[in-house]
């Protein structure tokens, strides 16, 4: 396994874990009131989105190779 393939595998596994945990945390906090929790919810949603983007970049669907 070369370095690029290793980077891809680690990125894919990491992105799945991060997207999953962010989504679960978002679901658990969904009904919490207060300004700070609203901010956290928005940021967790964007974090999950970022992990999904990184997943697609790692498998080569988004972005292009150098």
């Amino acid at each position: 396994m070369n370095v690029v393939m290793l980077e891809r595998v680690v990125s894919v596994i990491g992105a799945i874990i991060v997207a999953g945990t962010a989504s679960v945390a978002l679901r658990n906090d969904w009904r919490t009131p207060g300004l700070e929790n609203q901010v956290f919810k928005g940021m967790l949603a964007l974090l999950a989105l970022g992990a999904v983007l990184a997943f697609f970049a790692a498998i080569g669907v988004l972005g292009r190779a150098p």
């Binding site: 990125s11 992105a15 300004l35 956290f40 970049a57 292009r64």
Partner: protein, 195 residues
């Protein structure tokens, strides 16, 4: 009926907490404006120029950036767990997750340094496009660096007993700051590596 007494310090904390939260969020908004101005300048240049990257400049390494992004996004998740564990009084778990966040932040910075050192041919004289890339990612990296310092100070303060389960605004502010840094990277990662 038993009367509940509130210490003056706690009362002051409760009364000013929302104000401090609003102030910190305003600070984040001002930072967002700073990033937005550079991001829109880059997008304007890109839409009116010769495309991205310019002729003679090789594309950025998306695979490595994806890995580095996952590291930073992972640190957002660990920071969230750190705050949740603090709220539930689990100090050791809190400390573990916070240390993990700091380590992942340092890992991201090392990754960015490695990328700068190994960036492909043509970037040294790539004009305003290269300047946009280095300015935005450098400014973000500086924010991550400040965040690492911020979180380290929070860790030391919490070890020294500055925060309680009722009074922990510093930890909330640290979490907001770290999530902000993550969210900015979602945008930068998208516009530089994916578009």
């Amino acid at each position: 009926m038993a009367a509940t007494t509130v210490e003056p310090v706690d009362q002051l904390y409760n009364e000013t907490r929302d104000l401090r939260l609003s102030g910190f969020l305003l600070f984040m908004v001002s930072d967002l404006v700073l990033f937005s101005s550079f991001i829109f300048a880059y997008l304007y240049l890109r839409s009116s120029g010769q495309g991205w990257p310019p002729p003679g400049v090789s594309r950025l390494d998306t695979t490595f950036a994806a890995l580095n992004s996952v590291v930073l996004f992972g640190s957002g998740a660990t920071m969230h767990f750190a705050l949740e564990n603090w709220k539930h009084g689990k100090f050791m778990k809190y400390a573990g997750w916070l240390i993990a966040t700091i380590v992942l932040g340092i890992w991201f910075l090392c990754g960015q340094g490695w990328e700068y050192a190994h960036i492909h041919a043509g970037w040294s004289n790539s004009g305003i496009f290269g300047a946009s890339f280095f300015t935005l990612t450098g400014m973000h990296g500086f924010h991550v660096f400040c965040g690492v310092i911020f979180l380290t100070i929070l860790l030391l303060q919490s070890v020294n007993g500055k925060y309680t389960q009722q009074k922990f605004f510093g930890l909330t502010a640290g979490t907001i700051y770290w999530h902000f840094v993550d969210v900015i990277w979602v945008v930068l990662f998208s516009i530089f590596y994916l578009l």
